[in-house]
Every structure is written in structure tokens, then in C-alpha cells.
């Protein structure tokens, strides 16, 4: 009994406490922002952020005077559109990479990896010129296209790793039983990798939701995503930290919740490639 107690104390000192310290470091900026956002305006600069007499006034101002609802909708359309485009293109491509061996396969796979490595600045300048000449600046389509430059290559790789994990013997069995290849794809492979498709879709959604530089450059008055709106707030309401932090919380909420929802599967898919390396 003594020995066991001592080992528990030791564990708390060498594991639990350091973990707690690291979690403090990761979470405290976020919690501090949340705390600031519910502090009354008059109290913020005299007593500092506190939970006493917490108020949601900043949040209601965000929607009534600043018009955050509209920005949330814009972000939602852009992120949702990117998700649809990304998945529609990536799933067939990933199936081909996973189930066929053909000439140029390696080169094409590396091509998709290479795109992810290109600096965003190199792309953002010509994309702006391109969208301007097509008259697409300040439209949803421009932002969906721009976000797809990131979403397509990433989801091709992620989906390939998910489909690789479904044993080939399953679709081969379906095909010997008289299914066509597409029948096997739709009845066997796709249903089995639904969790992977959801995780990939959520990942695309999160990155498109969080994206800022494309939204700033290619957006405008009629399409203004939440990230750009938050940045504009910083400029307009310089010292109104209550309002600003409320904006930050609202802007981060959808992505954070979605992420916590799929994180296990997402991380499994993302780390797989790296661990093999």
C-alpha cells in the first residue's frame, strides 16, 4: 500500500503536474479572451476582466450593430462550397491512386504534394490578377476557387490514406459477385470510408473557415468572411477589447467545435503518412 501511494505521488509530480502546466499554456490565452468578452465595458479598464456580474452585451452588440450574422453566413457559404468542390474532386482521384497501378502514378501523387508546399504569396498575386480580369473579385466563387488550391491536394492525400486502409479483397469480392467496378465503389468502398470522408470534409471546412489572406485579397464589400470582419473590428474599435474578444470567440467557435467532434479520426489520417516516413 505504501509503495503504491508513493508511486501515485511520483506520477502526479512527474506527469500530471507538467501536463497541467502545458495545458495552462495552451488554454489560458483562449480562456482569457473568453473572460474578457463577458466583462462589462466600464469595468474592463478599471478592475480588469472578471466573472463577477458577467454580461453578454458584447455578443448582442456584435450581431445588432456590427452585423456579424452576415459575415458568418458568408464564411459558411465559402467553407461549405470549398468542402463540396474539394470532396467531389478528391474522392475519385484518391480511389484511382489507391486501387490502380498505372504509369505516372508516383509523379501525379507527388504533384499534389508539391502544391501544398508552394508559398501562398506566390499564388495570391496572380490569382488576384486572374480574378480581376474574369470579373470575379468579391464573389463567393473567387474565394471557393482560392481555397480549393489548398483543399484539393490535401484531401487527395488524406482520402488516399483512408481508402488504402480498406482491404482490396472487399471490393474484389464484390466484383466477383457480379458488381461492376462502380457498383463496388458505391456499395462497398464509399460506405466503408464515410468516416474518412467526413473527417476530410470537416478538415477542408475548418481550413477554409479559418483562411484570411485570400478572403482579404479576393473578398470585398459583398463577400466579407468572418476572419476579415474580425480584422476590420480591430481597426475600427481599437480599444474596445470586450467587443473584439467576443468577435474572436464567435469566429473561432464553429471550427473548434467541429474539430473536437472529429479530432480522433482526423489525427489518425493526418499522422499516418508522417509516421510511415
Amino acid at each position: 500500500m505504501m509503495v503504491r501511494n508513493r508511486s501515485v505521488v511520483r506520477r502526479i509530480l512527474t506527469v500530471d503536474l507538467p501536463v497541467l502546466l502545458i495545458l495552462c499554456f495552451t488554454l489560458s490565452p483562449y480562456l482569457w479572451m473568453a473572460l474578457t468578452s463577458v466583462t462589462e465595458k466600464s469595468k474592463l479598464f478599471t478592475e480588469g476582466p472578471s466573472l463577477a456580474r458577467a454580461t453578454l452585451e458584447n455578443y448582442s452588440r456584435l450581431f445588432s450593430t456590427v452585423g456579424f450574422g452576415r459575415n458568418l453566413l458568408d464564411s459558411f457559404i465559402v467553407a461549405g462550397g470549398t468542402m463540396v468542390v474539394g470532396l467531389a474532386l478528391a474522392v475519385p482521384a484518391a480511389y484511382a491512386f489507391s486501387r490502380f497501378r498505372f504509369r505516372g502514378r508516383r509523379l501525379l501523387m507527388l504533384q499534389f504534394l508539391l502544391i501544398n508546399m508552394f508559398p501562398l504569396v506566390l499564388l495570391i498575386l496572380p490569382l488576384f490578377i486572374l480574378m480581376r480580369s474574369l470579373g470575379l473579385v468579391d464573389t463567393y466563387l473567387a474565394l471557393i476557387i482560392a481555397n480549393s488550391t489548398v483543399a484539393i491536394p490535401f484531401s487527395v492525400w488524406m482520402m488516399t490514406s483512408y481508402i488504402d486502409n480498406i482491404p482490396r479483397s472487399l471490393d474484389e469480392a464484390a466484383m466477383t459477385d457480379g458488381c461492376t467496378r462502380f457498383g463496388a465503389l458505391f456499395r462497398v468502398v464509399l460506405p466503408l470510408c464515410t468516416p474518412g470522408i467526413i473527417a476530410t470534409g470537416v478538415y477542408i471546412f475548418i481550413t477554409a473557415w479559418n483562411e484570411y489572406l485570400y478572403a482579404l485579397t479576393l473578398g470585398g464589400r459583398s463577400v466579407k468572411t468572418i476572419t476579415v470582419a474580425i480584422q476590420t473590428l480591430i481597426g475600427e474599435y481599437q480599444i474596445e477589447w470586450g467587443l473584439l474578444t467576443a468577435g474572436g470567440i464567435v469566429g473561432a467557435m464553429p471550427a473548434t467545435l467541429l474539430f473536437l467532434f472529429v479530432q480522433k479520426r482526423l489525427i489518425a489520417g493526418m499522422t499516418q503518412g508522417a509516421v510511415k516516413g
Partner: protein
């Protein structure tokens, strides 16, 4: 003669993979590779957006201008400092976190889920909350340091040219270390337990086990994650752009940020593209290293 060959693959089966790939490949050609060629093309021209008629081919004049431009060298220096501090800091913190999260303790699942939160936040929000933390009048960092008597007067962290870059580096470290932790954690789980058992029987200390089993076992993951991170950290300009916009003065300019600001506010797309192309060339070595590692795993 055909008896010796494998049965011919039907044409439909040979064409099918290309047909399934073509939408994704064609779209990426149109929205990634074409614009990229255009960027290189623009970098060889005089092209300022408020003089749209002028598009003169000037060979490498923009690149020569860059080499003679002091801001180019300042930005390049910051890029090097930026990567050289941020990536190792993220890696060490990530390694420590992963080793801890690999131990047995009751709330391990919860801790693992919470530690990755910074990674899911929009960079604009990250920039916003750290600007608030660093605020020189009401910021919590100054408040804490004053209370602990570590400083005697508030420090304007982001407005002081000597501290601004390092303040942003701390923010980036905070944002990026969970990625390392998650990757390394996955790597740790790939090291067979029997190695440690054998070493323990031979009387190896914890430190020796770490040095001779854990680190070699993680080498591959560490290498891949570090290369990926170097590329991403070098590329990430949104946090700096929102936190300081490159200021005060040029003290937080990095090369891609300089290219972006040049095109965005100066509307000088020719010179901006030249800066972006130069930055890409600087980064290319790391990209090739990473692609070679990743290429080996394609079965």
C-alpha cells in the same frame, strides 16, 4: 506469342484511373500551376497596377533591384531568425508534450483532446488574443510580470522594434507545437514495447532508454515533421500581418510578408512577384528534401 504474355489489360481499365484523376488534375493545373507560371512571368516585367498599360519585359531587373534593396535583406534575415527559433521551440515543446501524454494517467484522453485546440483556431483570432495579451496598458502579460517584479515598467511588446519579432515568435510557437506533439505521439506508439522491456532487463536507465530507443525510433517522424513545419512556418504571414503589419518600421518583415505588402499596398505586382519567386527559390531546398522523403513511401 501472346501465350507468354500476361492477359492484356482491357482498354477501359487502363483509361479508368486517368479518367477518375483528370478532374482533380485539370482543376489544379488551372488554378495552381497556371497562376504560378503567370507569377514567374510577371516577375520579369515592369507591372504596377495603377499603370495597367505598362507591361514591359525587363528580364531580371526586378531581381537585381531586390538584391540591392536593403529591405529585402532585412526581411531575409528575419525569415531566417523566424524559422531558426520557432521550429526548434515548437519541436522541443512538442516532444516534451508527446512524452508526457504517452504516460499512463487517468485524464489522458481529455488532455490529448485539449492540447490541440490552438491548432484549430483561425490565425486572425490567434493574432487578436495575443495582441490583447501583449497590450502595453492593460495587457495581462505586463500585469503579471509587474506583479512578479520581473519588470519595473510596462513593456510595449509589439511596438518596440527589439521585442516585436520575438513576441510574434512566441505566438507562433504556441500555435504550432501541438502539431509536433500529435505527430510525435503517433510516432511513439509505433515503437515496440518489447524494446523497452529488454532494455529494462539489461538495466538501462530511463535516460539511456530515451537516448537509445525513443530518439532513434522517432528520427523519421521528427525529420518529416520538421521539414513540413519549416515550410509552413516560413509561409505563414497572416499572424504577423494582423499583429503588426510588419512594423514597427521593418522590424517584423519576413520575405513573403514583404512580397505581399509590396503588391497589396504598393500595387507593384512585378516587383512583388519577383520577391515571391525569390522566396520560393530559398525554400525550394526544403521542399525537395520533403518530397524525396514522401516519395519513398509511395507504393
Amino acid at each position: 506469342m501472346s501465350a507468354l504474355q500476361a492477359p492484356p489489360v482491357p482498354l477501359s481499365r487502363r483509361v479508368l484511373p486517368y479518367a477518375m484523376l483528370s478532374p482533380a488534375v485539370l482543376v489544379t493545373l488551372a488554378i495552381v500551376f497556371l497562376p504560378m507560371i503567370q507569377a514567374v512571368w510577371m516577375s520579369l516585367h515592369d507591372y504596377v497596377l495603377f499603370r495597367p498599360r505598362v507591361f514591359d519585359f525587363v528580364w531580371f531587373k526586378n531581381f537585381q533591384t531586390a538584391l540591392a534593396d536593403p529591405v529585402f535583406w532585412i526581411s531575409l534575415r528575419h525569415t531566417v531568425i523566424w524559422i531558426a527559433i520557432t521550429v526548434p521551440a515548437q519541436m522541443l515543446l512538442g516532444l516534451a508534450t508527446a512524452l508526457l501524454l504517452n504516460q499512463e494517467f487517468p485524464w489522458r484522453g481529455l488532455a490529448r483532446a485539449l492540447v490541440i485546440i490552438p491548432w484549430a483556431l483561425p490565425s486572425v483570432v490567434i493574432a487578436l488574443m495575443w495582441v490583447w495579451i501583449y497590450d502595453s496598458n492593460y495587457g495581462v502579460l505586463n500585469d503579471l510580470l509587474l506583479r512578479m517584479n520581473l519588470i519595473t515598467a510596462s513593456v510595449p511588446w509589439l511596438a518596440n522594434p527589439d521585442t516585436a519579432l520575438y513576441a510574434i515568435i512566441l505566438t507562433l510557437t504556441w500555435q504550432g507545437f501541438p502539431f509536433f506533439a500529435v505527430m510525435i505521439l503517433a510516432g511513439l506508439q509505433g515503437i515496440p514495447k518489447s524494446y523497452y522491456e529488454a532494455a529494462a532487463i539489461d538495466g538501462a536507465s530511463n535516460f539511456r532508454q530515451f537516448w537509445h530507443i525513443t530518439l532513434p525510433g522517432l528520427a523519421g517522424v521528427l525529420m518529416t515533421a520538421t521539414l513540413l513545419r519549416i515550410i509552413w512556418v516560413a509561409n505563414s504571414i497572416d499572424v504577423i500581418f494582423v499583429m503588426t503589419g510588419g512594423g514597427p518600421g521593418y522590424s517584423t518583415y519576413t520575405l513573403p510578408l514583404y512580397a505581399f505588402i509590396n503588391a497589396r499596398t504598393g500595387l507593384n505586382y512585378g516587383y512583388g512577384s519577383a520577391l515571391a519567386v525569390s522566396f520560393t527559390l530559398v525554400l525550394l531546398g526544403f521542399v525537395i528534401l520533403y518530397l524525396r522523403r514522401a516519395g519513398r513511401n509511395i507504393g
